[in-house]
């Protein structure tokens, strides 16, 4: 038995942390390109634009921007506080430490040289939280909500970022992307090493797209995320006593199947932007139907006969 409020809290802890990690990784790569400020390189521009945030400091610290690292970590902790009793003490302490670390950084006045440090510490702090979660919390219904939150966010974020690179390259022949751009994209997904192991260091747009979209074993690919999400949703349906084949499960099953059997050349030659934007839309539909099934269902539909 899991309270809907608790399920909601767990789901959003994971979503917000995934979002914070995504933002932190993008900023970190942008900084590493030697471009502390936006607007001086197409790759950094694209990374920033995919966040809807123009400035490094805003992306890190501005609490008014929902995607900033500080806003996401704060929101994750607030959700954690609401369900503190449902997560392990170790998880709570790590979540709190992460929050305090970001907050301390934000009030620090001389931050010129340090955003890169913060990005790295946020990413490793979130990895630590995930490790603690898997090691100290029962892998029961609540844990599945954490898993669902993490992977639905990841599928949407990776698809959105890829869309920036693939669609821009298609629609703007004069602004063709060079290999620096594609390497930056791989690094923004922590995928460069894995890509090289798979395809060698020969970086080609269609291979990068294939890898980030369709790889079955790379954990940040959209397909991998969809598989995890599907599995989490199946477990959630089972734990709640609802039969298999609900709307959310059918939606995620369709998404997963399209990635399982998709061909990168078809996707790229057909309508890559439509395909990638469609993934974001499908994630939103899955989210809505999960909520309708488990959290915000109408009372009328749930009154026992």
């Amino acid at each position: 038995m899991l309270l809907s409020r608790v399920a909601d809290g767990l789901y959003w802890i994971a979503r917000y942390l995934e979002r914070a990690e995504h933002t932190a990784r993008l900023i970190g790569v942008g900084l590493d390109l030697g471009l502390g400020r936006a607007g001086t390189h197409a790759a950094a521009d694209r990374l920033h634009a995919s966040l809807g945030l123009s400035d490094t400091m805003v992306a890190l610290f501005d609490l008014d921007h929902r995607n900033s690292v500080a806003a996401c970590v704060t929101a994750a902790r607030e959700n954690g506080r609401q369900v503190r009793d449902e997560i392990s003490s170790d998880m709570w302490e790590q979540l709190n430490a992460l929050f305090l670390g970001v907050r301390q950084f934000a009030v620090n006045t001389d931050r010129d040289a340090r955003p890169g440090t913060l990005c790295r510490s946020v990413i490793s702090g979130i990895h630590l939280f995930q490790g603690i979660t898997d090691a100290t919390m029962g892998h029961a219904e609540g844990w599945q909500y954490l898993r669902a939150g993490r992977f639905i966010e990841r599928a949407g974020a990776t698809a959105g970022l890829l869309d920036r690179f693939v669609s821009d390259g298609e629609t703007q022949p004069d602004g063709r992307l060079d290999s620096v751009d594609w390497v930056a994209l791989l690094r923004a997904c922590s995928a460069l090493e894995a890509y090289c192991r798979h395809y060698t260091a020969d970086v080609r747009p269609e291979r990068v797209t294939e890898f980030l979209l369709l790889s079955g074993d790379f954990p940040r690919s959209v397909r991998f995320a969809a598989a995890q999400l599907e599995s989490a949703l199946r477990e959630m349906a089972r734990a709640s006593g609802r039969g298999a084949g609900g709307r959310a499960e059918r939606l995620v099953g369709r998404l997963h199947a399209s990635l399982d059997y998709g061909q990168v050349d078809e996707i790229l030659s057909d309508d890559p932007h439509g395909y990638l934007a469609g993934i974001g839309r499908q994630c939103a539909l899955i989210h809505t139907s999960v909520y309708q099934s488990y959290v915000t269902y109408s009372i009328e539909s749930a009154i026992p006969a």
Binding site: L2, L3, S4, R84, D85, S240, Y294, P304
Partner: protein
């Protein structure tokens, strides 16, 4: 200054500031000899070194912090939490003393429940003029919504924490009844755990009755309160939420019982049935151990601005579809003016003499008593009738003339709102101050559970006024606590 005699030199230092006065001392008799049941304790303390004691104290404080046994400090968004100060030394109660306390509290709570049933139904005690009608109806915690409502088993107060003090002659007396949402039981349980960890040797020298069954007893009590038609009742703990200072305790009790901890927004009512919203759909609730005050329980019936409660809960309750522990409207019986009538209430319903005496109480709407109190404000303690937690109090001997003038004006404006009592010298026990042992005033809050029968956890929460000479033991006012030992026969 009286140093207990026969103290070896090493111990004299630790006890150097230990003085005896009029107050009953829990450890030493008037001649300065350890009381028989405290001899082993005193002996152990005399063998201890200051460094060792300080180490124990650090260890105990750390245990509370790492276990998260804290209360929230209001108004701090950093989530700062404080531990409830813990004194190293146990407070020891003999089997005979405890037997009297159990007998007295059983009698008292039985009578209080009969009283509540009576005033919300036929009102015999009012008709016979034992308790003045206007005193009951003018009480802020009287709920006319409860008139004629059938309460399962007739038990209004199933969870109580009654504050006892020990008077100069060594007798226990009742200082106040807490019949709404008494708190602190988690500290009682945590104190014992820490004590066993820090002082295993000392603990082993005594035969102390265990307290660890509280969670099971509470669950068993709540089960017996379920609506009779519900075979396997679903029980929940209702908390105001993480912002509440006792949130730790709410979560702790839910975990001890293995039931869900819910907030008002998790619950809803439909056709006078209460449900909680879970991922598996709506689940019917049968018993709510609510840690939310009456005022906030149901915005449709009580405070409309409350977001802590459940709209429609009162009607579901009146329909008998859900049980609340405690019932609504029990605060009328722990009103401090009604308190003065509890001995009469016991005599009226049970035809018995009270086992545990009350503290003498002046009722301020009676002109002669009021005049006496106003003339002796510097000697008396004045309390607001509906308050708890040590708020709204004037301690005469420790007050300034400005404070007394302020209280005089308040009393004259609303005499029904105040009572006065003599300033008590309640008992003292040895506490570790960090530099040695000094006596500090203490009280005792035993926790009672009343369902199919009266259940006690032997002991309770001993609260300590940590400031030298202070008489205020509330956690919100600089109080601490001790582990409380009830000895086997």
């Amino acid at each position: 200054m009286t140093v207990p005699p026969s103290a070896p030199p090493s111990a004299t230092e630790l006890f150097a500031r230990y003085t005896l006065d009029r107050a009953y001392d829990e450890i030493f008799d008037a001649a300065g000899n350890a009381r028989p049941h405290c001899r082993a304790l005193v002996e152990a303390l005399r063998g201890a070194s200051l460094a060792e004691l300080r180490r124990h104290q650090t260890e105990a404080d750390r245990a509370f912090l790492t276990q998260g046994i804290t209360f929230t400090v209001y108004g701090d968004d950093a989530g700062t939490e404080r531990i409830f100060p813990y004194d190293l030394l146990p407070r020891i109660i003999t089997a005979a003393e405890w037997a009297t306390i159990e007998r007295g509290l059983t009698q008292r709570l039985t009578a209080i429940n009969l009283f509540l049933r009576d005033i919300y139904h036929e009102g015999r005690i009012l008709a016979e003029g034992i308790v003045p009608r206007e005193l009951v109806f003018s009480c802020r915690h009287y709920r006319r919504e409860m008139r004629g409502v059938h309460v399962n088993r007739g038990i209004y107060v199933s969870i109580a924490g009654t504050d006892l003090v020990r008077l100069e002659d060594g007798r226990f007396a009742v200082l106040e009844d807490n019949l709404r949402v008494p708190s602190g039981v988690s500290y009682m349980l945590a104190n014992r755990e820490v004590m066993k960890r820090v002082f295993p040797g000392l603990f082993a020298r005594y035969s102390v009755r265990p307290v660890s069954t509280y969670g099971q007893d509470l669950l068993a009590t709540l089960r017996t309160l379920a609506p009779p038609t519900r075979i396997d009742p679903t029980i929940v703990v209702l908390t105001p939420g993480v912002g509440n200072s006792a949130y730790f305790e709410h979560a702790f009790l839910a975990r001890e019982m293995g039931v869900a901890l819910v907030e008002g927004r998790d619950l809803l009512t439909h056709d006078n049935i209460v449900y909680m919203r879970t991922t598996s759909g709506l689940r019917r609730i049968d018993v709510i151990y609510r840690r939310v005050d009456d005022d906030f329980l149901d915005p449709l019936a009580f405070r409309a601005d409350s977001r802590l409660g459940v709209p429609g809960l009162l009607n579901a309750y009146r329909a008998g579809n859900v049980s609340l522990a405690n019932a609504i409207g029990t605060g009328v019986a722990d009103d401090k003016a009604i308190y003065a009538y509890i001995p009469a209430i016991i005599r009226f319903y049970l035809s018995e003499e009270p086992v545990l005496p009350n503290v003498h109480t002046y009722l301020l709407q009676q002109p002669s008593q009021r005049q006496y109190v106003l003339d002796h404000l510097d000697e008396l303690v004045v309390k607001a009738v509906g308050e708890s937690g040590g708020y709204g109090m004037l301690i005469g001997p420790h007050s300034t003339s400005v404070e007394r003038a302020a209280f005089r004006a308040k009393i004259l404006a609303e005499p029904r709102n105040f009572i006065a009592q003599p300033t008590l010298t309640f008992s003292r026990a040895a506490c570790f101050t960090g530099d040695g042992f000094e006596p500090r005033h203490i009280d005792l809050r035993p926790y009672l559970l009343y369902g199919d029968r009266m259940r006690f956890v032997p002991g309770g929460l001993t609260r300590v006024a940590l400031r030298r000479g202070s008489l205020v033991v509330n956690s919100s006012q600089g109080g601490g606590s001790k582990d409380t030992w009830v000895l086997q026969d």
